[in-house]
């Protein structure tokens, strides 16, 4: 492969990145990511210039005129090129970098929306609080209002994870026994994908999530709905599904508010049917995928905490997954 082809094949996907930028630091959708994007642009341009200077010096050293080469072959050239030049550029860069850093850390909005996120092997527990401070729990999909600052309070239930939604902000690690705080906001509505960025064992590769930014009014409505108990099952099949859910012990790990299922080990399923994806943004939500997770979750995400439930007849499985898919 020639260098030219290498360059074109590298640059083509970059140009095409408009169609697949749901998880990209190069498609900033919020002020924090934008500032970093600008910084990245400057860094890349600067690096390109420095690289050119070094290559030019190398070229001159090997192929230049005798005078130019004599000029290069001195301690002074080493001091100018190796000490003075980098010192000046680096100090300027450092100042700028520290400014961006402070801008991203400093809180803008004292009344920021607060969301707690707990990293678990290998999914995300999401907790909102309503006006009275009651917990509203969800998983793997985070709704935020557009234009409002959101404060994420991050921690972990087991090993170290890292919370990263590149379109909105840089990443921040999640530790057991510590709480870290990340503030960000989204400029426009959209779905932004995020992924765990600290190796957390086994299925680390499959620990993703989505941040759904919606207009503020929609967010309020959504949150109010989310706070309500799960809709009661209508129709015989759904009722049978709920009975199976409770009798098979699913409620030991999963909560469905409004029923006796109050487990806190696995994701809260109160509105699982309304989420776009299940299994930490691994599979799109549907009857079929829910049924697969119930029966065969260990093949979808090896090592996860949920045992396989191969005890249901096809009819029972259909009723159960249908009930869950209907929880909206």
């Amino acid at each position: 492969m020639t260098p030219r082809r290498a360059i074109t094949s590298v640059s083509v996907p970059v140009l095409l990145s408009g169609c697949s930028d749901v998880q990209s630091a190069l498609a900033p959708m919020g002020p924090d990511a934008s500032r970093i994007f600008t910084l990245a642009g400057i860094l890349f341009a600067g690096a390109a210039v420095v690289m050119l200077i070094v290559l030019a010096a190398l070229w001159i050293a090997m192929r230049g005129s005798p005078d130019a080469r004599r000029g290069l072959a001195t301690d002074r050239a080493v001091i100018v090129g190796g000490i003075a030049f980098p010192t000046v550029t680096l100090i300027a860069l450092l100042g700028y970098g520290v400014w961006v850093m402070r801008a991203n850390i400093t809180p803008v909005d004292a009344a920021a929306v607060q969301i707690e996120v707990v990293g678990e092997q290998w999914w995300w527990r999401v907790v909102y609080r309503d006006a009275e401070g009651r917990r509203i729990e969800s998983a793997n999909e985070i709704r935020i209002p557009v234009g409002r600052e959101v404060e994420f309070r991050l921690t972990s239930a087991d090993v170290i994870h890292s919370f990263w939604v590149p379109n909105l902000a840089g990443k921040l690690d999640m530790f057991p026994g510590r709480t870290t705080t990340l503030r960000l906001s989204a400029d426009r509505p959209g779905v932004y994908r995020g992924q765990c960025a600290e190796y957390c064992g086994g299925a680390h590769a499959l620990m993703a999530m989505e941040v759904v930014a919606v207009p503020e009014a929609d967010f309020a409505v959504w949150l109010a709905t989310e706070a309500m108990p799960a809709p009661a099952p209508v129709g015989e099949t759904d009722k049978r599904g709920q009975t199976l859910f409770l009798a098979a012990g699913c409620g030991a790990c999963h909560a469905i508010r409004g029923t006796s299922a109050n487990g806190v080990i696995g994701p809260d399923l109160t509105r699982v049917g309304a989420r776009r994806f299940i299994a930490a943004a691994t599979l799109p939500t549907s009857r079929e995928t829910l049924a697969r997770v119930i029966v065969d979750g260990q093949h979808i995400k090896p090592g996860n905490g949920m045992p396989p439930f191969r005890i249901f007849s096809p009819g029972e499985l259909d009723a159960l997954s249908g009930y869950l898919a209907g929880l909206k």
Binding site: I265, P307, F309, I311
Partner: protein, 359 residues
């Protein structure tokens, strides 16, 4: 002769040897009949090899308390099912057919003592090649093998009456309904009641589960799983295999219909056991046991209230060690069992044992 020459001759010799062996096997000269016995020298050599092999392979582990009466009783019942036909038992000499095996199975009364506990364990678990002595039908239930070893240690001192009491309890042979199948099948050997008891009477050994009042669906599935090997047990496998599907259903219905007898011993329950069973431990990802094991749960799950603590603890340990996925319900329980510590297992078993059974 240099290296290549030497290596060549060695290879040639090996090839020639292999040819001779093949030739003998193909010709049929060798007599494989069991009717003529081994030559004395061969017999001596085989015996020498066998003894040393056992000594070398016997595991370096500490046995459980082998004078535990629960263990001895369980071992006795299985001895009667699995071993007595070939080895004989107090009061019933070994079968005339078994006597003509090569080598003939030994009468065990005076043959057990020279072996150490670990050596007996190894023999029972693994059997002997080319002798007819089988291995335990599962390699995952060391606790069952120890039960048999415990019994073997008692065997030399047993008179026929005590043996019968230990191995058969008060089994009889009479009517042909579900109850009768439980009490007899082809003979007294497979009768469930030998170990599991009957109306108004629980198991005589705490290592044996109380089946009274359990959901029939669970019992029937368990018998199927024992028969297929999805649920490992060297004791239950031969018994479950011998039961027809209909018989499995009937015997399950029979025990499901029985009232729960009072426990033999009162277990000491701890607060920690209660908390774990009712609330679970979210940080260790242990769900509350009662979500699946109370009276409202699916009928394919066992009810644990009033169950014998030593049996339950053994089952949890077997689930922890189990290698394969096993039956569908075991596949659910095994990962949960692995999250339990030994202490939690003991606390949980004791707490459940202390509960009054609620059918």
């Amino acid at each position: 002769m240099g290296w290549p020459g030497l290596l060549g001759s060695l290879a040639g010799l090996a090839a020639a040897g292999l040819c001779v062996v093949l030739l003998v096997a193909w010709s049929g000269i060798y007599n494989v009949s069991a009717s003529r016995g081994h030559w004395p020298l061969v017999e001596l050599l085989l015996r020498f090899g066998m003894e040393n092999s056992v000594e070398a392979h016997a595991p370096d582990i500490v046995p459980p308390r082998l004078d535990d009466p629960d263990l001895v009783r369980l071992g006795a019942a299985h001895f009667h099912t699995g071993c007595a036909y070939c080895h004989g038992a107090p009061g019933s000499p070994m079968s005339a057919i078994a006597r003509h095996m090569l080598p003939p199975p030994p009468e065990l009364t005076d043959r057990v003592d020279p072996w150490s506990d670990q050596e007996l364990f190894w023999i029972v678990k693994h059997g002997f090649k080319y002798t007819g002595m089988p291995a335990w039908t599962t390699q995952e239930r060391d606790d069952e093998v120890w039960a048999l070893v415990a019994f073997l240690r008692h065997l030399p001192r047993l008179d026929p009456l005590t043996y019968r009491e230990l191995a058969l309890g008060d089994v009889m042979t009479e009517r042909q309904d579900g109850r009768a199948i439980a009490m007899t099948t082809s003979g007294a050997d497979e009768a469930c009641a030998r170990c599991h008891g009957t109306e108004g009477k629980g198991p005589l050994s705490d290592l044996v589960p109380r089946l009274h009042g359990q959901p029939a669906a669970m019992l029937e599935r368990a018998l199927r799983a024992y028969a297929s090997g999805e649920r490992p047990s060297g004791i239950m496998k031969p018994i479950a295999t011998a039961l027809s599907p209909r018989a499995k259903q009937q015997v399950a219905d029979y025990y499901a219909s029985l009232a729960v007898p009072p426990p033999r011993t009162q277990a000491e329950a701890s607060e920690a056991g209660r908390r774990l069973a009712t609330e679970g431990d979210a940080t260790a990802e242990i769900p509350a046991c009662l979500s699946c094991h109370d009276a409202q749960a699916l009928a394919i799950y066992p009810r644990l209230a009033g169950q014998n603590a030593p049996y339950m603890a053994n089952q949890l340990r077997a689930l922890q060690r189990g290698s394969g996925e096993g039956s569908a319900t075991r596949a659910i329980m095994a990962p949960i069992a692995r999250r339990l510590s030994e202490r939690q297992i003991v606390e949980l078993s004791a707490w459940f044992a202390s509960l009054p059974a609620t059918p």
